[in-house]
């Protein structure tokens, strides 16, 4: 893999990790040399972070660690190294009628470890949860250089603190995860994707709310700011057929017209990663604030989509000066984060949004597992 640039900054070196021992050696080397170490899988989400707190860093490439360690279809549990791509894992699971309900961007590049580190998925998140909800166990190397194993292979497990959840979404700031055990699920019998157009974006939002709370319970209810409401329905064939029919009727009552979907679910989630916009926002909003988010997004000419089921809004902004308009949404209890920003704008803010009253605690937890601040220094919340 070629090295990634973080905010224009090239690594001192690229270290290809082929074993947990190599990961431990890379961490030891970085500690010794007082450098930062940034673990990278497929690199699809790596740009989301604050500016590195160091000029000297190594890029730890985990993509060579891509083996499947164990797969028990009867238990719907699979263990694989962190560098395996989502597409490769889905192919294996698919051969047994199973899947991981993670439709993250760019599955041919996105890795299992990267998904866990970012705790991100796509249109299936509202119904199936996030990677942290399906991770049962892991092996990792802590920032101290210690190789550890947390969790196990069973869904229920209350033996000790839940270090798996602590590491999920920690973006490589506490440990480098080398292996994960995750719970798969059966592929749904039916999986449909519908699209509707309406009079206006606010009208689509009203329709989306109606549908989300309807007995049909769509798996995904997503508004594309280009003026399209997408519905995904999954489950048993009979249930999906019934729900599809009811959704059409409900959408019609809400004044929406069914159209051929301009994008597939995967294309929709891929668009953000493939965007060349200078600013990308990821906004997490309570249900009542989505009107305000929609209005602000429309006012600044943003493109992207709003997942009404989760309140997560992925927006691409054509114009950096529009940032304050979105950041003002925090008065609505909205959290605005910035997966991509020009360096000058990153210098002025925490890309994860304003800190909360748990910031000192977050810092102490970071110090407990990465006392020298080697792993992704400065990139996480609060510039940790």
């Amino acid at each position: 893999m070629s090295s990634v640039l973080l905010d224009g900054q090239a690594p001192r070196s690229v270290v290809a990790a082929r074993s947990p021992e190599a990961v431990a050696a890379a961490i030891a080397d970085a500690r010794h040399g007082r450098r930062g170490l940034v673990a990278v899988g497929g690199g699809t989400l790596v740009e989301h972070g604050n500016l590195l707190r160091t000029d000297s860093w190594d890029h730890l490439d985990l993509s060579p660690m891509d083996a499947v360690i164990d797969y028990s279809p009867a238990d719907t549990v699979v263990t694989a190294q962190a560098g395996i791509t989502l597409a490769a894992l889905q192919e294996l699971l698919g051969s047994h009628g199973q899947m991981l309900p993670f439709d993250a961007p760019l599955p041919g590049r996105a890795t299992l470890g990267g998904l866990f580190a970012s705790n991100a998925t796509g249109t299936l998140q509202a119904a199936f949860g996030r990677p942290r909800d399906r991770a049962l166990g892991l092996r990792a190397v802590l920032g101290t250089g210690e190789a550890v194993r947390f969790g196990g292979q069973t869904v229920k497990n209350v033996a000790g603190y839940d270090m798996v959840r602590l590491l999920a979404g920690s973006r490589g700031s506490l440990a480098v995860v080398t292996e994960l055990t995750v719970r798969a699920c059966a592929r749904p019998e039916a999986d449909t994707w519908q699209a509707y157009e309406g009079r206006s974006l606010p009208a689509l939002l009203e329709a989306a709310r109606l549908l989300r709370n309807s007995p049909e319970r769509p798996t995904a209810t997503i508004i594309d700011l280009s003026g399209c409401l997408y519905l995904r329905l999954t489950g048993m064939e009979a249930a999906v057929a019934w729900a599809t029919d009811l959704c059409r009727k409900t959408a019609a009552i809400a004044g929406c017209t069914e159209v051929e979907p301009p994008f597939s679910p995967q294309e929709l989630v891929d668009r953000r990663s493939e965007s060349d916009a200078p600013c990308l926002a990821r906004i997490i909003a309570p249900a009542g604030a989505l009107d305000a988010v929609l209005a602000a997004a429309h006012a600044i000419g943003a493109v992207g989509h709003i997942d009404v089921g989760t309140g997560i809004c992925e927006l691409a902004l054509p114009d950096p000066p529009a940032l304050p308009l979105l950041e003002a949404l925090s008065t609505h209890a909205v959290v605005v984060t910035w997966p991509r920003l020009p360096i000058a704008l990153k210098r002025e803010r925490d890309v994860w949004g304003p800190s909360r009253n748990d910031a000192p605690l977050q810092a102490r937890v970071k110090e407990a597992l990465d006392p020298d601040g080697v792993l992704s220094p400065g990139r996480n919340v609060g510039h940790l």
Binding site: K156, V158, M236, G311, I312, V335
Partner: protein, 478 residues
């Protein structure tokens, strides 16, 4: 050992005086007779009497209590309803039990966001009752849900029969307000679908009250099921029964519960309630499905067919609420019914990968036979969460010794089969000595380091959940 605490009578008396002024006379218990009721939770094998029990009514009260304790170097032990099964609320090193039962309010129910904010001592079932008629409920349903508190559920990461489809407590907590041992109030999580930063909510769930005192909980509300079917399948062999469990999950069906009851308990149930179960059946499966009305009978037919293809002698299907409650009666009364079989019962809580169920049940029977003790089984089969009930007479010291050895072997067997030592009852003090089977020295040390980010001086519920490094020789990760 945790740091030495000052539990001298003078120090305790000084604390009691201060807290009486703060909370009122009625809410500070110091008399031996009053304290006796707090010498253990529902795990009664080990007891320890606290020096005081206090009952705050607000987060500010809790702050004042922990600060007063801290100034005097006295540990605090949070406690909900005391229904825990592993001694998590037992004051094993002495100290002040902080009972949260007065903080039982439901602060808000937010249906558009599917959230409820409740105080720590709110009873689990009270949330669902408060949401009745809205189309939503609180999903985790431990068997003690009509008594246990939400913060107790958070502390233990509680689960119940419907965990199979809806997940454990950890899946249903969106935010927490916690008072750290230094008196700092911290809000963990945003309550939204995602929170930025480290998942300290996820870390706190299951922490057994060792990080601080939870005072408020934001829970997720789950839509009510549209249609429910409950099946009860009767099997002539345990192997057929366990094979059915594996095949149902592999078929793509996702029942909300699959519970198994064995012959010993079935017979006790028949003696007690005359439910009409065949006395010669080896085991029954209670299978519950919830799906849209359009699909529910198709799902039930598929589950029924899988049972019959595995030689189920009979499959009963409940279609009304009354019929459903009748079938669940067997599950809900099952453990209690074992009281007819022996004067003492210990219910184990091991987990194995679901596919190993046949082997695990066979080995439980072998272990029981080897030690000459009686064991029966009623458990969450869909999750592979075993609950072997060991029947004994605690006055018989030889039998007691054999029971302890059998328990240890059952737990070790679960680990050997790829499982773990507790699925839902917690570690507390009961299973600390089993922890090295699943958590190595480096892992335990890392857990303690993170714990100390919350509680640097071991002031909150010391001696629980994770053994101190001294318990490990040169142990390594398993």
């Amino acid at each position: 050992m945790p740091a030495p605490y000052d539990l001298s009578p003078a120090n305790i008396a000084s604390l009691a005086s201060e807290l009486r002024q703060l909370l009122g006379e009625a809410y500070v218990l110091a008399e031996a007779a009053d304290l006796l009721a707090y010498d253990c939770d529902a795990y009664t094998m080990h007891k320890a009497t606290p020096q005081l029990v206090v009952m705050p009514s607000s987060t500010d009260d809790v702050v004042a209590v922990v600060r007063a304790c801290r100034r005097r170097n006295i540990p605090v032990i949070p406690r909900g309803a005391g229904t825990g099964l592993s001694g998590g609320a037992t004051a094993i090193h002495g100290g002040v039990i902080v009972s949260l039962i007065r903080m039982d309010g439901i602060l808000s129910i937010d249906l558009p966001n599917r959230r409820a904010v409740v105080q720590a001592g709110c009873m689990n079932l009270a949330i669902t009752r408060a949401a009745a008629g809205t189309g939503f409920h609180y999903a985790p349903d431990p068997s003690s849900q009509s008594a246990c508190t939400i913060a107790g559920n958070v502390a233990e990461n509680a689960s119940g029969p419907h965990t199979l489809k809806y997940g454990m407590t950890a899946h249903h907590i969106a935010a927490l307000r916690i008072v750290l041992p230094d008196g700092t109030i911290v809000d963990l999580g945003s309550g939204l679908e995602e929170s930025t930063g480290l998942d300290l909510v996820g870390f706190t769930v299951g922490s057994e009250g060792t990080l601080g005192i939870i005072t408020e909980v934001t829970v997720r509300l789950t839509p009510d099921p549209q249609a429910v079917r409950t099946l009860l399948a009767v099997f002539e062999t345990v192997e057929d029964c366990t094979q059915t469990v594996t095949q149902i999950i592999a078929s793509g069906l996702l029942p909300c519960a699959i519970e198994m009851i064995d012959k010993v308990i079935l017979q006790a149930l028949e003696d007690a309630f005359r439910l009409g179960f065949p006395r010669d059946a080896a085991a029954v499966l209670l299978i519950e499905l919830d799906d849209p009305e359009a699909a529910i009978d198709i799902a039930a037919d598929r589950a029924d067919a899988i049972c019959r293809s595995n030689h189920a002698r009979e499959v009963r299907r409940a279609t009304t609420t009354a019929e459903r409650e009748g079938l669940w009666l067997a599950r809900k009364k099952g453990v209690g019914t074992t009281g007819r079989l022996a004067s003492s019962i210990v219910t184990q809580d091991g987990v194995i990968p679901r596919s190993r169920l046949p082997e695990a049940l066979r080995r439980v029977a072998e272990i029981a036979a080897a030690h000459g003790i009686r064991v029966c089984n009623i458990f969450h089969a869909g999750d592979g969460n075993l609950h072997p009930c060991v029947l004994f007479d605690e006055r018989d010291l030889d039998e007691l010794h054999r029971v302890e050895k059998a328990n240890d072997e059952i737990i070790a067997m679960c680990v050997e089969l790829g499982g773990t030592i507790s699925g839902e009852h917690g570690i507390g003090i009961e299973k600390l000595h089993h922890m090295p089977l699943v958590v190595g020295a480096a892992e335990a040390a890392a857990m303690h380091r993170v714990r100390r980010a919350f509680d640097p001086d071991d002031e909150c519920n010391p001696g629980k959940l994770v053994p101190l490094p001294s318990a490990y020789g040169t142990g390594t990760a398993p």
